[in-house]
């Protein structure tokens, strides 16, 4: 344990070199968001001619170490034990921090997944350094070797650039899905240092007693979201949206007021107190466009707003604005999609 102790500026920051990336794994494979970290980690390491070192904690690490090498990692440091098979915060943070104290990296990146955020600030506190959360833009000052960690704040309206000048390593968690997965290549050089460790029993204080793979609805997975608000006027309006969503292969979303009046479950809520979605197509039907909702959907690729109020705020955030009754526009959309599908079917059969 760290105890009640302050963050301390590092004596000789110039002695801290290389970029560390913590790799999250699942069933013997590196998760996609961690491959994204290899991508951005390699990019900034190359800018200052340093190495990208990946950290693995778990069991049977060899196949994952090999995979990390293919994606461009220069060196893998691993702590391996049957006791580390499952994700456990305390021992995982312990080994990550131990690698930091031995190897003195300048930068340490972790994907901002739930497990990533679970670990990041514990590793930071152990190393008595700072960590910037959920970055979407990451760069390095090539002369000073200062990490430029940028994160969206105030409901994604502002990008804050945050520096950790005097403490090492400079840590950040980075938002999944923002950075590119690098190309995998065979035959790259990658040094491997995987250690069999005996985990201190005092670090094992929780156990995973079950796992249920995701079967339930998650609105953030969908490519197309059709959302409704109070402008639908009635609960049944969501059935019409459901029909359109089904036709499009999408899912139904909702504004907070529509959830609050009980027209639809909270799982469907898009907005600051619901989920933030980034689908290819977002349709907002009968939603006025309060800041609370806009924050949750403005990053969609294409936005269609349907509202009978010509001055509805939502129009400003739309690519297409159908200024008409929802119950005129939605059935027309369904009809036209079906029509087009019909035409396509005919084309193929001839």
């Amino acid at each position: 344990m760290t105890g009640l102790i302050n963050a301390v500026p590092t004596d000789k920051p110039e002695e801290y070199r290389n970029v560390f990336v913590f790799l999250e794994t699942r069933k013997g494979a590196i998760v996609k968001s961690s491959l994204e970290m290899i991508g951005i980690g390699k990019e900034i390491a190359e800018k200052v001619k340093e190495k990208l070192v990946c950290i693995l904690v778990g069991n049977d690490l060899a196949p994952m170490a090999k995979e990390a090498g293919k994606y461009g990692c220069d060196k893998v440091l691993g702590a391996e034990s049957p006791d580390l098979e499952d994700f456990k915060t305390m021992p995982y943070a312990h080994y990550a921090a131990q690698f930091i104290s031995e190897e003195k990296p300048n930068i340490f990146l972790i994907a901002a997944t739930h497990d990533g955020r679970d670990l990041a600030s514990r590793i930071a506190v152990k190393s008595r350094t700072g960590v910037t959360a959920d970055c979407t833009v990451i760069d390095i000052d090539p002369n000073e070797r200062i990490l430029l960690a940028n994160r969206p704040v105030y409901g994604e309206s502002t990008l804050a650039e945050i520096l950790c000048k005097n403490h090492r390593p400079q840590m950040a968690t980075a938002r999944p899905g923002v950075f590119k997965v690098p190309d995998a290549q065979d035959g790259r050089n990658c040094e491997k240092d995987i250690r069999r460790v005996r985990v201190d029993p005092d670090l094992i204080r929780k156990e995973i007693i079950g796992f249920r793979p995701k079967v339930e609805f998650d609105i953030t997975d969908a490519d197309i979201v059709v959302s409704g608000g109070l402008g639908l006027g009635k609960k049944e309006g969501f059935q019409v949206l459901e029909e359109l969503a089904k036709e499009l292969g999408g899912v139904v979303g909702a504004s907070r007021p529509a959830v609050d009046v009980g027209w639809i479950d909270r799982d469907h809520q898009v907005g600051q107190t619901g989920r933030v979605v980034r689908p290819k197509l977002y349709i907002a039907a009968g939603i006025s466009g309060k800041a609370q909702h806009i924050v949750g959907m403005k990053q969609s690729d294409i936005i269609i707003a349907i509202n009978s109020d010509p001055d509805a705020e939502i129009a400003k955030y739309s690519d297409y604005f159908i200024n008409d009754d929802v119950y005129a526009a939605i059935p027309e959309l369904i009809k036209e999609i079906r029509k087009l599908k019909g035409e396509k079917e005919v084309e193929i059969s001839t």
Binding site: T158, K206, L281, I294
Partner: protein, 267 residues
């Protein structure tokens, strides 16, 4: 012996009332009322559910300006027994490191604790890093992003929401739990408890009470600094007006661009 539960909360600007400035497109937080962070309401409810079933004593701990006592009183009106506000000018400008340190110092001063609850993140900072930081300072295990928590045979069992499923974790107290936003329906205050809360009042602790140096907390104790704030350029959107009779054309356009897929099954 009663379970000692601590719930860490924060008062934040109400996201419902935050307006978007039409010119700068940034959120105008000045006008917003201050409220209890919503995920913290869920954290308190998770603690109260345990208290409903097992004899427990709940202490609210919050770091913030003097007016944040309102949020603490609200928690007491729902069933928390004691409220402590950590307020001192020295605490201002803290990043996640000294925030966690300050909260952990207060919890250490409280003495024995079994379960510490916090919301998964705050709506104004959205880091989710403070809870785990506190657990590290205190040297205890944690179960983050829980959608449900129960106390059974001396163990805490939490269901964690992960990207690919639900992980069920068992830990023996002391343990820190962070609670997912919207994972339960927070109860309302009762008049009786509200009156009791006002009678009991909120205790105020300053830096002096915590016994840690001023350089360790607030802006001085923060390893990170904000260098710049830039408005994120919003994607320019045309708001092209489409009439109902033009919807057919719109659908063709979207299908042509591959935005919507026709997914005709090939025979």
């Amino acid at each position: 012996m009663a379970l000692e539960i601590v719930v860490m909360i924060k008062q934040v600007p109400d996201s419902q009332e935050v307006e978007i400035d039409p010119v700068t497109k940034t959120l105008n937080r000045m006008k917003a009322r201050n409220v209890l962070n919503v995920a913290d309401e869920n954290a308190l409810e998770a603690a109260l559910i345990i208290k409903d079933r097992a004899e427990s004593h709940i202490t609210i701990v919050s770091m913030g300006p003097p007016m944040a006592d309102e949020a603490i009183l609200e928690c007491m009106g729902k069933g928390a027994d004691r409220g402590i506000l950590l307020t001192d000018r020295a605490f201002a400008g803290a990043d996640t490191y000294p925030t966690g340190l300050t909260l952990a110092a207060a919890i250490t001063k409280l003495g024995k604790f079994d379960i510490i609850f916090a919301g998964e993140e705050t709506s104004d900072s959205s880091t989710g890093h403070v809870g785990p930081g506190v657990a590290e300072f205190l040297g205890i295990e944690q179960i983050t992003y829980t959608r449900s928590v129960r106390f059974e045979d001396g163990n805490v069992i939490g269901e964690r929401e992960l990207e690919d499923g639900i992980e069920i974790v068992r830990a023996r107290p002391p343990v820190l739990i962070t609670v997912r936003l919207g994972s339960n329906i927070p109860r309302r205050q009762t008049l009786r408890k509200k009156i009791d809360a006002i009678k009991t009042g909120v205790e105020t602790w300053t830096l002096q009470n915590l016994g840690i140096p001023a350089e360790w907390v607030g802006f001085k104790g923060s390893p990170t600094v904000v260098r710049s704030m830039k408005t994120i350029k919003e994607k320019e959107r045309a708001a092209r007006k489409i009439t109902v009779s033009e919807i057919g054309e719109l659908v063709k356009e979207l299908a042509g661009n591959g935005v919507i897929k026709m997914e005709v099954e090939q025979q």
